[in-house]
């Protein structure tokens, strides 16, 4: 607070009666072009490497400050994005040892602090999240990157431009994991004597934006990295400001009053109002789904007929209507257009079929317990949507009981798995399906049975298990894609989940913003955005 002085009283009075005074705003002197984003996160994502706040943290903070060995190609909106060279220009598996991956590093890359990017930096970063004895080991970062390092065993420097990473078991999809492991500056960390609290306020990476300033909990301001190694991705605006605004109504008001010019996930009900104010609404499909993950250990969902019945019972067009068109009917894990989509069974709305299946299964009325959350990242509008699911399921003979909990409790249910919560027949957890490993393999793989992994309901099917093994040992992209397609189709046949909708991820942009390309991805590239004065 400023110290009170003589004009304090005048200012205080003026503020108290401000609405009565015609007090003109001082002219804006700087003609800086600024992109101000209202995020849905409740706080500023962590800046010490892998961010928290889910993939939104990666989207706005992680991939802006930092790079990983492999990056996501976010330059197109018309086809699903895949990984591309990042800090590594190429990679291949050692032909003699399928557990050993060779990464060729990009030359001439500099950290924001000026130090050069080296092979040692890569090893140092890997040790930071895996080696408890390393001085740079940081528990929080270990926790935030653990799911991407499960299969990591060791790393070594081959030469100045090459590192080799060895995995515990052969895994043909391993480079995807490396795309989630962000590299931070060893130089800066050593200068700060491994004080990660200080590092959070002075982060240094190789990413397309440099850190400028941060007001804790309120805003993070980034400046374009003019020396970015990819000249095509040097930002076309002068400043990027990130504001956490968890309330949709607040984000809408902030955009309408001009406080921000880029809003994540406006409430569908506010979209007509935003359009009438001239805002651009952009949407795109992306690898997101909003399903129920089911219990394969006990209860009605162990019967494939009940699972199929539930899928036939849903009239997905009503969900799209509820969400004001900001969603897409979901009939399979992946959205159509995914390279390994194939021809999955399509569970079209058919109440008679659903009733017949339930009757055949002898589950009448079919009592099920579903765990749902009141909010959460990627959960869309969980309460109204779940209410609608309940009423549609009950029309064909289900009897649905909800366990309503907050987001963190649901995450806990998801983490502990069916062993701890045998009474829950399914839980409603939205999923990010960026890479085939997390999208298709983890939910069915025996190795990932909860609580060790993401196979919440302990699904097991010998045919699928066999296929998964083949995929992970197939290092030929083309034949692997065929097998992945087969896996996707098989999972649909087994009615692995109850599929409801894919989010279309609406964003609202001020008419002054140009050049934003919404990629079919959880991550987005903000650098091409230019701002009209």
């Amino acid at each position: 607070m400023n110290p009170p002085n003589r004009s304090f009283r005048r200012a205080a009075l003026a503020c108290a009666f401000a609405p009565l005074l015609a007090w003109s705003a001082p002219p804006q002197t700087h003609a800086e072009s600024v992109v101000t984003v209202a995020m849905t996160a409740g706080d500023i994502p962590n800046t010490t490497g892998n961010p928290d706040q889910g993939f939104e943290g990666f989207r706005f903070v992680g991939y802006n400050l930092y790079d990983s060995l492999a990056l996501w190609d976010l330059s197109r909106s018309d086809k699903p994005s895949d990984i591309k060279p990042g800090l590594a220009t190429s990679w291949e598996v050692d032909p003699n040892n399928h557990r050993r991956w060779i990464f060729h590093l990009r030359q001439g890359v500099k950290w924001h602090d000026g130090c050069p990017f080296t092979a040692e930096d890569v090893l140092w970063n890997l040790a930071r999240v895996t080696d408890q004895k390393a001085p740079q080991f940081y528990t929080l970062q270990m926790a935030l990157s653990r799911s991407y390092t499960t299969n990591f065993e060791s790393a070594e420097k081959v030469d100045d431009n090459t590192v080799a990473i060895t995995t515990k078991v052969a895994e043909s999809l391993f480079p995807y994991s490396m795309s989630y492991l962000l590299m931070v500056s060893r130089c800066r960390a050593e200068a700060l004597k491994y004080d990660w609290g200080a590092y959070a306020e002075h982060p240094s990476g190789t990413g397309p934006y440099k850190f400028d300033r941060m007001v804790a909990h309120e805003r993070l301001e980034l400046l374009p990295n003019k020396d970015y190694w990819d000249p095509k991705r040097v930002a076309k605006h002068d400043r990027l400001i990130l504001l956490p605004m968890p309330e949709a109504a607040t984000r809408t008001a902030a955009l309408l009053t001009g406080q921000v010019n880029f809003v994540e996930a406006p409430s569908p009900d506010a979209i007509p109002r935003l359009k009438s104010a001239g805002m651009q609404i952009v949407t795109n499909q992306y690898p997101h789904n909003w399903p129920y993950i089911l219990n394969f250990v006990r209860g009605p969902m162990t019967d494939i007929r009940v699972r199929r019945a539930a899928n036939y019972a849903l009239n997905r067009s009503e969900f799209v209507e509820l969400l004001g068109g900001m969603a897409m009917e979901e009939y399979a894990t992946m959205p159509p257009g995914t390279p390994y989509y194939g021809h999955p069974v399509r569970y079209e709305f058919n109440q008679d079929k659903a009733k017949a299946l339930l009757k055949e299964a002898g589950c009448m009325p079919c009592k099920i317990v579903l765990a749902i959350s009141t909010s959460g990242s990627g959960q869309m509008q969980p309460l109204p949507m779940n209410e609608l699911v309940k009423s549609q399921l009950e029309e064909v003979g289900f009897q649905v009981e909800f366990k309503v909990m907050d987001w963190n409790s649901l995450i806990e249910v998801g983490r502990s798995g069916v062993v701890k919560y045998p009474e829950i027949d399914g839980y409603n957890g939205s999923r990010a399906l960026l890479d085939p490993l997390s999208a298709l393999i983890k939910p069915v793989w025996k190795l990932h049975w909860s609580p060790a992994g993401a196979n919440w309901g302990h699904f097991y099917d010998p045919e699928i298990e066999e296929l998964v093994g083949q995929i992970l040992n197939d290092f030929d992209a083309e034949t692997r894609l065929e097998k992945l397609t087969k896996l996707h189709e098989l999972e649909n046949d087994r009615a692995l989940m109850i599929w409801v909708v894919h989010d279309l991820n609406p964003r609202a942009l001020s008419p002054k913003l140009h050049g934003f390309v919404q990629a079919q991805n959880w991550f987005q590239d903000l650098t091409p955005i230019s701002v009209d004065p």
């Binding site: 607070m1 503020c15 001082p26 929080l140 653990r146 799911s147 902030a254 983490r415 993401a454």
Partner: protein, 318 residues
């Protein structure tokens, strides 16, 4: 006098201790694991234990309390679980933002409430009294967060006269109320926040003024031939201590009670931080914020008591 002050301060110490016990135990009422939020969804039991140890959450509760209290007394409130920043920094930053709101809302409430109450008290039973009394009941009966929502829609979104949310175009760090571009962010939250105290202060003032008006000395003053204006001046002067006390208490209440208003306006104050700490289950921040706010309240009460005893020595006896 000094003895009285000393006794009053001594008396506040056990209360402060009790408050710290309540703050500490409060967060252990909670079901679930406080570390849930920072753990990845597939964390192993071993990893959970490791992180628990790192945060000192594996010790028995009384030990945790004593350790915590020892740290607190040296000004160390620990680290925020979600941001890894020292809690003391987090809390003081948020508190100064809330203080910014209350330091405008309380004087505003005092000016408006006292004027309303004095007018009503001087003309008991007249139409103006009814209007003022009605308005002050509205003030204490209106859900203030609802008023805030309505203000945002009317003044920010539709009229575009005031900003809708946040604290200044550059955030709280560079906020200065000497610049209108910043100060305009204060207007709606301050008006919303002062709603309830306006109601309370005007009711108190009305009661105090009308009581003083009925006292013997007023009759004496009138009998001595003093003009009505001079009489009112005396009356207001005599009713001031009581009103000042209420105002002081309101300051403490608003510091701790701004959570709803801060939520509606995304004002980065202590209430906003508290609700975030509850959602994130960030125990150190929760403890620190509640403790700080309660201590401020204890301190305000103490100051109000002492000031009252200075103004009106009779109070000291009770």
């Amino acid at each position: 006098m000094l003895g009285y002050i000393g006794r009053r301060i001594l008396f506040a110490i056990p209360i402060a201790f009790g408050v710290s016990v309540v703050c500490f135990s409060l967060v252990y009422l909670a079901p679930g694991d406080p570390l849930q939020t920072i753990l990845p969804s597939d964390a192993t039991a071993e990893m959970v234990a490791q992180i628990k140890q790192a945060y000192g959450l594996d010790r028995p509760l009384p030990v945790q309390f004593l350790l915590w209290l020892g740290h607190v007394l040296t000004g160390d409130f620990g680290m925020s679980i979600s941001t890894r920043r020292p809690v003391i920094l987090e809390v003081t930053g948020a508190l100064s933002n809330t203080f910014m709101l209350t330091s405008f809302a309380v004087p505003l409430a005092f000016i408006v409430g006292y004027t309303m109450g004095a007018i009503a008290g001087c003309f008991p039973g007249r139409a103006i009294d009814r209007v003022v009394t009605g308005a002050s009941v509205v003030g204490v009966s209106l859900p203030n967060y609802w008023l805030g929502i309505v203000l945002v829609i009317v003044f920010a979104v539709e009229l575009m006269a005031l900003p809708a949310t946040g604290m200044g175009p550059k955030g709280s760090a560079e906020f200065s109320f000497f610049r209108w571009s910043d100060a305009q962010y204060l207007v709606q939250p301050v008006v919303t926040l002062s709603m309830i105290p306006v109601g309370i202060i005007s009711r108190t003032t009305r009661a105090a003024v009308s009581e003083v008006l009925n006292q013997d000395f007023v009759t004496t003053l009138r009998a001595k031939g003093l003009g009505e204006f001079a009489v009112i001046r005396h009356v207001l002067k005599n009713s001031a201590p009581q009103v000042l006390a209420v105002m002081g208490l309101q300051f403490g209440y608003l510091m701790g009670g701004s959570i709803l208003v801060e939520t509606v306006f995304t004002w980065p104050g202590s209430g906003f931080m508290l609700s975030k700490a509850i959602i994130n289950r960030d125990i150190p921040v929760l403890q620190g914020t509640i403790l700080f706010l309660a201590m401020i309240f204890v301190a305000t009460n103490l100051v109000v008591d002492l000031l009252q005893s200075v103004i009106d020595p009779r109070i000291r006896r009770s």
